[in-house]
């Protein structure tokens, strides 16, 4: 799979989710923050994007802890996204 395909698949999975909140948040993150991530962080984001919304939302709102430190970094960045 080439880079364009990889990003487009990720874009679909970020912007066609079960909850509007998540479409907005992950979509914005993908556009603005994802291109600046280190490779390990990018991998962690892909894992997060593959989660279901009701698994991911508790991580973002802090009611659940991340298991992995790199994942925690990415979640912190996600939490800082302000959707305009």
């Amino acid at each position: 799979m080439d880079e364009r395909e990889r990003i487009n698949r990720l874009r679909w999975r970020c912007t066609r989710r079960a909850m509007l909140e998540m479409d907005l948040l992950l979509g914005e993150f993908l556009e603005r923050i994802f291109p600046t991530l280190a490779p390990a962080q990018a991998e962690a984001f892909i894992v997060l994007a593959d989660m279901e919304d009701l698994e991911l939302w508790p991580l973002i709102n802090g009611s659940r802890e991340c298991a992995d430190p790199v994942q925690a970094e990415v979640v912190a960045l996600l939490r800082d996204v302000r959707v305009k």
Partner: protein
């Protein structure tokens, strides 16, 4: 590409959509021994049904006395008498059965101390024919939709339902007699276009709330089922009726629950005035959804909106104790910070009435069979869930009745397919010559378009037009103007251009194809709304006010009928509302007041 290059896959039945309604239908088919394909744009448990938190209604009577007949009365009244009483009786009678079935599928409902399904009250659900609120909503904490979808999905896995995930259905296949023979679909991962040839096709594609600029619906709700049906010559019913929620975050649309006003939240205009005191002196900010929404729009239209464009009002909870906010409304604080950039402890939240639910859709009977304008079933075609119009919600849906609709009509559409296949009423017919021509021409047009319009900009223009011209409160001149505008936008949609022409994972193409569906829904909505010269349920016109002859602006003498919009020529026709239930007496027309 020509027909001969399209591969064909044969199934007994194909279901488009893997939300609550599609998955419920699939259980009937797979367990009934039919070879069934379920197509979905996303993994099934990412369907929008997940977003439903409130619950599912059924007159189980676990917490207090209840009866399906009371539930039926509430639903007819809620619908402002536009719902069909045969379908409403069917749904309310079946409710206890399908909810208990769901429990057996493994749904983790909240329980009472005695271990029964716990039930709570919900707006519009009453006991004894409208007397007082009754506990009828069954829930699994605030994750009812999520839990429901998981239970249904697991059951399907057990029954070996075959899923086609990240596939987008593009068009219906119909032969000359009008019989539906399946769908043409696009696999996103390969870009391959495939025909699913089936004896029976069920649409369960959900709603189309993304036609509005401000919507609580996830991005996936682009009305694909409606677009496909309209292009195949099926009329769409009652598309002027959309339910709005008063408090969506301005811009983002994300829902702020009624609970915020329940905890003491106050709506304010640009003069900092608590304006609901003028519109509803008693209930104030806690008046019913439609009353609050219309008051908000009136404030905005009269120039008392807030912000640089004066286009929202404020939901104020700054007077509440921060400890209360942190304790009772933590999720709301989070949402406000994330989606409005505002900490509601310090400053009020910008909100606007926001599109929430589509009452109209593909016309069906209570068996889930799609019916043509003459009332005769379209052979081989079935629909259930938000895409369908049975019609149980009429002009206004009651909360928790939608999840019920998915279960009842998902099941009944599945049963109808089984029956029609067994009796030989539907069987595999040869695919007609050129069955994919229209779809392939559409794809080809998109691939070769030069100097065309931008998909994102055109979608935004469509959404802004719907919001402005056909929102929660409707004005004659605005509607007329809106119809003219949407016809112009339709021309832009017909010449969209995408830069990426590749086959594999071409999301730009998929989004352009979604826009082809949004425009059909938008046009159906505006044209139907402009024509209906009364106020009823969610359709409220400035020029159809509350008078003694027409209370609430409802004009039964002329408008107690269903709208049917046909894409060909954008023409309208009407059909009577079914006032005869299956076994009980008709619930006669009455003024709707709470």
């Amino acid at each position: 590409m020509s027909n001969s290059s399209i591969s064909v896959r044969k199934f007994d039945a194909v279901i488009v959509g893997a939300g609550g309604s599609g998955l419920r239908a699939a259980i009937q088919l797979s367990e009934g021994g039919l070879k069934t394909a379920v197509l979905s744009k996303v993994f099934p448990t990412r369907s929008h049904t997940v977003a439903a938190q409130g619950g599912v209604s059924a007159s189980l009577g676990n917490s207090e006395e209840d009866h399906w007949h009371w539930h039926m009365y509430d639903t007819v009244k809620g619908s402002d008498w536009l719902g069909d009483q045969d379908a409403i009786e069917y749904m309310c009678r079946k409710a206890p059965e399908v909810v208990v079935e769901l429990e057996h599928f493994g749904m983790p409902f909240d329980r009472t101390d005695e271990g029964k399904i716990y039930q709570r009250p919900f707006g519009g659900h009453m006991s004894n024919f409208g007397e007082k609120p009754v506990r009828r909503a069954c829930a699994a904490a605030d994750r009812t939709g999520h839990a429901m979808l998981h239970a249904l999905y697991q059951r399907n896995v057990r029954a070996n339902t075959q899923f086609f995930v990240e596939w987008m259905a593009l068009d219906l296949i119909r032969d000359e007699s009008g019989q539906v023979l399946g769908v043409i679909a696009l696999e996103m991962e390969t870009g391959e276009v495939v025909a699913f040839h089936a004896k029976a096709t069920i649409f369960a594609t959900g709603g189309a709330g993304r036609i509005y600029y401000s919507s609580t619906n996830a991005f996936i709700n682009t009305g694909d089922g409606l677009g496909m049906a309209a292009r195949a010559g099926i009329a769409l019913e009652d598309m002027e009726f959309w339910q709005f929620h008063p408090t969506g975050v301005a811009g983002a649309g994300v829902l702020i629950t009624e609970g915020v006003r329940g905890e003491g939240g106050i709506l304010r205009n640009s003069d900092n005035e608590r304006f609901m005191e003028r519109y509803a002196p008693n209930a104030k900010d806690l008046a019913s959804r439609d009353v609050v929404s219309r008051a908000m729009v009136t404030e905005i239209n009269e120039g008392r909106g807030c912000g640089p464009n004066k286009d929202f009002v404020l939901l104020d909870i700054t007077h509440l104790d921060p400890a209360t906010i942190m304790k009772r409304l933590p999720g709301i604080r989070e949402i406000s910070i994330q989606f409005a950039g505002i900490d509601p402890i310090q400053a009020p939240i910008p909100v606007v009435p926001t599109c929430h639910y589509q009452m109209g859709g593909i016309p069906t009977n209570f068996k889930g069979q799609v019916v043509a304008a003459d009332g005769v079933p379209v052979k081989g075609f079935y629909a259930a869930g938000e895409v369908a119009c049975a019609s149980v919600h009429g002009a206004n849906r009651l909360g928790t009745n939608s999840l019920l609709d998915l279960l009842v009509f998902g099941k009944s559409s599945g049963d109808s397919v089984i029956e029609d296949v067994a009796s030989g009423e539907v069987m595999h017919q040869d695919l007609p010559a050129g069955f994919a021509d229209r779809t392939l021409a559409r794809l080809n047009r998109l691939n070769t378009q030069t100097g065309g319009s931008n998909v994102n900009e055109t979608r935004l223009e469509l959404q802004r037009t719907m919001q402005k011209h056909c929102g929660v409160f409707r004005f004659k001149d605005m509607l007329v103007e809106g119809v003219a505008k949407i016809v112009e936008i339709e021309k832009e949609v017909a010449r969209t251009e995408i830069k990426d022409k590749s086959q594999v994972w071409n999301t730009a193409r998929v989004e352009a194809l979604e826009l082809d569906n949004l425009i059909e829904v938008a046009k159906a909505t505006l044209v139907s709304a402009e024509a209906r010269k009364e106020s009823r349920g969610a359709h409220v016109r400035d020029d159809a006010p509350d008078t003694p002859e027409n209370p609430n602006g409802r004009d039964d003498a002329n408008w107690h009928k269903h709208t049917l919009w046909q894409r060909e020529g954008s023409s309208l026709s009407y059909k009577p509302v079914t006032m005869t239930p299956l076994t009980v007496e008709s619930i006669a027309l009455k003024t709707r007041s709470y």
